[in-house]
């Protein structure tokens, strides 16, 4: 790919491959899961070749997502640890959503919104996997009582709902903040992008930059 001079690497190749495997699995899970959630969305199962296929594929995709998400945790947990700057940034959330960035305090590599996405998914995906396993008729239909399965499926649908909302926020934020999508597809941001959106991260980078 052609990459302009003086740009900053935001996501490494491994970061990006892992992220897009994740994204693909999440979307397939979303589509197959929604088809079994509400009748007006049952047609989505046609994308899998019918209801039986959507039902059969969904749990396997879930297992793959869990494996993929472990990769994300390993790569991203450290930079998503909360810090003091998060409080000030969160208090300025009304300025953030209005693009009034002059009133938003400088933040490090990830802002609290991004951290919320990361930690929400880190909580929701394992809960979804576990509750999903309990409701997996083919292999675990007789493993627990029907009452346990009823609880599991309710928890599963509640967590899935939360995960879908997090997903919508994540996708829109990526579109909203111009340059974010390129950072996850081609891996780089311009210095101006880093200065504008993640000033503390930008300053850390230039302070430790090796002289050419």
């Amino acid at each position: 790919m052609t990459r302009p001079a003086n740009t900053i690497t935001r996501y490494t190749t491994v970061n990006r491959i892992n992220h897009w495997i994740n994204a693909g699995l999440f979307i397939l899970l979303l589509v197959s899961g929604l088809s079994m959630f509400h009748p007006i969305l049952f047609w989505l199962s046609g994308l899998f070749g019918g209801g039986q296929w959507a039902r059969a594929a969904h749990p396997w995709l879930g297992i793959c997502l869990m494996v993929s998400w472990v990769g994300m945790i390993i790569q991203f947990w450290r930079e998503n640890l909360p810090n003091r700057d998060d409080v000030a940034w969160s208090k300025a959330i009304t300025h953030v959503v209005r693009n009034d960035d002059g009133h938003v305090p400088p933040i490090g590599r990830n802002n609290p919104g991004q951290k919320l996405v990361f930690w929400s998914m880190t909580f929701l995906i394992p809960v979804l996997l576990f509750s999903g396993l309990l409701a997996w008729e083919v292999y675990f239909g007789k493993a627990t009582s029907i009452e346990v399965q009823r609880v599991a499926i309710l928890v599963h649908s509640l967590c899935a709902f939360a995960a879908v909302l997090v997903f919508v926020v994540h996708v829109y934020a990526a579109i909203w903040i111009s340059g974010s999508v390129r950072s996850m597809t081609q891996g780089y941001v311009t210095p101006g992008w880093a200065w504008h959106h993640h000033r503390k991260w930008f300053r850390e980078l230039i302070a430790h930059r090796k002289q050419p």
């Binding site: 088809s35 509400h38 829109y172 504008h196």
Partner: protein, 305 residues
């Protein structure tokens, strides 16, 4: 069963529109099982296998008259035996023919996510339209009586059809036809209730003070009813639920939450769209780039020896 009566649906799973229901003047039907007249011969089980062409795998003897041990994808009705010692210290052998109760408010149908995989006909019969079944097992979670069983070979859910194919052409279910003591009866639900009432008077006269009809109102009644000598304690009959109801967990999952969750997700997406057209993208400007270059230059100068 087959999808042979497609114009007399009163309920259809996972459907938000009115099902085809022009042929809706049929009588409500019911099967009445008089437990007090059952001798446990299993003719009904054999007749069910015979008519429906079901051949369950041969299992193992587990020390009980119950054979096989449980309902299954090929076992739609099963005699259940319980030895009960009554208050007088006498043994009572309580035998109950288990199977789908054909609830007026079916939990399986409420839970099913596949459009048209479970239907209820105008006559009250709840039927699985197997080619539409996706094998998810939600009907198992919805059922208050633990009836549906999912096949491991074709991943479809099965249960008693109340011989909907026979009833359509004016025949009684195969189990009714086969019963040698007349313990299983079939007809209009009101007729069956009258029949039961007469029998209950008889049973009370013979010392069963708590004899009664099992037609649980919690599921708005059933289209398979029992005459029980101990109607005050249905659970004596191999775990027949005292108060069968669709689990509140299932009601929560399949109730208002479902449309509200879909609406909330749609609203989130619409909200995002309107944020885009009102506030719009957050762009990095040439001034940002200039500021970044200035800071980089300053840092380099500071670090230079």
């Amino acid at each position: 069963m087959s999808d042979m009566q497609s114009q007399d649906y009163v309920r259809r799973s996972a459907s938000t529109m009115t099902p085809p229901s022009a042929r809706n003047v049929e009588d409500q039907v019911a099967k009445l099982i008089d437990v007090s007249r059952c001798i446990g011969c299993k003719a009904c089980q054999a007749a069910c296998m015979e008519w429906n062409n079901l051949r369950p795998e041969i299992g193992h003897f587990e020390g009980s008259y119950e054979n096989p041990n449980d309902l299954g994808p090929s076992v739609w009705t099963l005699m259940k035996f319980n030895e009960y010692e009554n208050e007088q210290g006498n043994l009572e052998w309580l035998i109950r023919k288990d199977g789908c109760m054909h609830c007026e408010d079916p939990g399986c149908l409420k839970a099913c996510p596949a459009p048209g995989a479970i239907v209820q006909y105008a006559n009250g019969i709840v039927d699985f339209i197997s080619d539409k079944c996706i094998g998810c097992g939600y009907c198992v979670k919805g059922c208050p009586f633990n009836i549906p069983r999912i096949s491991k070979t074709d991943h479809k859910s099965y249960k008693c059809t109340l011989c909907s194919d026979r009833v359509t052409v004016g025949l009684e279910p195969a189990c009714v036809k086969a019963c040698p003591t007349g313990a299983i009866m079939f007809g209009a639900k009101t007729d069956m209730q009258h029949q039961a009432a007469e029998r209950i008077v008889d049973l009370k006269a013979r010392g069963f003070a708590h004899a009664g009809l099992y037609d649980p109102p919690e599921v708005q009644g059933t289209h398979v009813m029992y005459v029980l000598h101990h109607a005050d304690k249905p659970s004596l009959y191999s775990g027949l639920p005292d108060k069968p109801h669709i689990s509140t967990l299932v009601q929560a999952w399949k109730g208002l939450y479902k449309p509200l969750a879909v609406a909330a997700v749609a609203l989130a997406a619409i909200g995002a769209f309107f944020h885009w057209i009102t506030i719009g993208p957050n762009e990095t400007t040439e001034e940002d780039e200039a500021e970044a270059r200035r800071e980089m230059r300053e840092t380099e100068e500071e670090q230079a020896p």
